[in-house]
Symmetry: C2
Amino acid sequence: MAQNAKLQVTVLGSGTSQGVPMIGCPCPVCRSTDPRDNRTRSSIFLRTPEAGLLVDTTPELRVQALREKVDHVDAVLFTHAHADHVMGFDDLRRFCDLLGGPLPIYGSPETLQTLERTFYYAFNPKKTVPGYVHVVPHTVTGPFALGGLTITPMTVPHGAVQTTGFLFSHRGRRMLAYLSDCQSVPPEAVDLMRGVEVLIIDGLRDHPHPTHLNVQGAIAAARTIGAKQAYLTHQTHDKSHAERERGLPAGIGVVYDGMKLEFDLE
Amino acid sequence: MAQNAKLQVTVLGSGTSQGVPMIGCPCPVCRSTDPRDNRTRSSIFLRTPEAGLLVDTTPELRVQALREKVDHVDAVLFTHAHADHVMGFDDLRRFCDLLGGPLPIYGSPETLQTLERTFYYAFNPKKTVPGYVHVVPHTVTGPFALGGLTITPMTVPHGAVQTTGFLFSHRGRRMLAYLSDCQSVPPEAVDLMRGVEVLIIDGLRDHPHPTHLNVQGAIAAARTIGAKQAYLTHQTHDKSHAERERGLPAGIGVVYDGMKLEFDLE
């Protein structure tokens, strides 16, 4: 890989399932004019010199891709198949067009099954229609390589379902871990992420939630993992970005739509 | 109904399945700065003194509702279940919350079946979770009343599927007909709409398409119907709004995102 090669990460969305602002909500956060309080549904995009990798396809995928000028996706990783993480799936058609072929997608067996139930027309290798979405599913069972990175899936609990977190490593460096929806972080996942440079983790709100980590839980998980820097994602309208950041200890921040992170790949 | 009562119609989206601008497209229309060339997926919202009626739930429903300050929906009508018309369905949860109960939805048997296959959790009357979307399906078989209007469904062909167009009437006045996706308009539908005040009709692009009316086909259909005014919808990036309008005969226009129409209800 060339010198000065980078892994660039763009936060496409940082909001919880209903987004911020919430429709018809008169609260100060939903009426905020700070662009960081405009939170579409949680998703990230990674670019290496070799590939563009999308994590999840939110209902607002088209809006996010236009905003961040994402025009080349080589593969899609899915954390799980809840509506706020997958309902933009059909908009992958445009990336298939630009790529000139089917898109590889990665997820747990349950996630891929749920996607196929809805978007069955994208999964039929014998009947492809030009201009339509067409994918090649890959069941995630252990570490795999994409775009010059090693991607390690981690199974984490999220209420009635389990979601897949992803650890992105390069030559043994644990660069980025992404856990968008989790109620806790099991010891096996902690071991895989230990000492990670940047952790982006579900930290929904202050008060506890049955299927998500709250802010205190996310901070505790970040410390257990030993993340050098952690950022909360999947935020509700309980606090503005500025208010949320003010209350956090050193080494913990909050992602926002459009935020960028960069890692040297040497 | 009170004097000065109005039917207000807001165009939530006016674009074809991939929207305009298209992701990663360098064409002049996709780079246009005219806000009328910013086309989310086709949908309209109707408000009468009695009710708010949404037609379709596009992937961008949340974005559209925030933009047009739609904060109260009493019922949803579905034209069909293609992705560009339904993938915002889960965002109805917010309207259920604001309404304080389940949302009635209306569609053909095929449309409702497809919706239920994906959003099964919204259709279970015995297991409702506060804060989640919950609907009561109504199969459309003939005219029905909502919000002080009579709504007449019309079955029209759209490639391999049939879609449902809707005629909105008040005391016998045929006010508005909405046909978002159709390849032709069968004689039975023409009879139902004859002389309608405003027709919003699929007019995808100049050159023919196997499942959509093109511009010339839409103009011909509007004339056959005898619409006093017609507007094309479901537009691609082939022409800008301004270019498209310049080429149209009197009585034919093009809808755009955010466009409003008003009808006196006397």
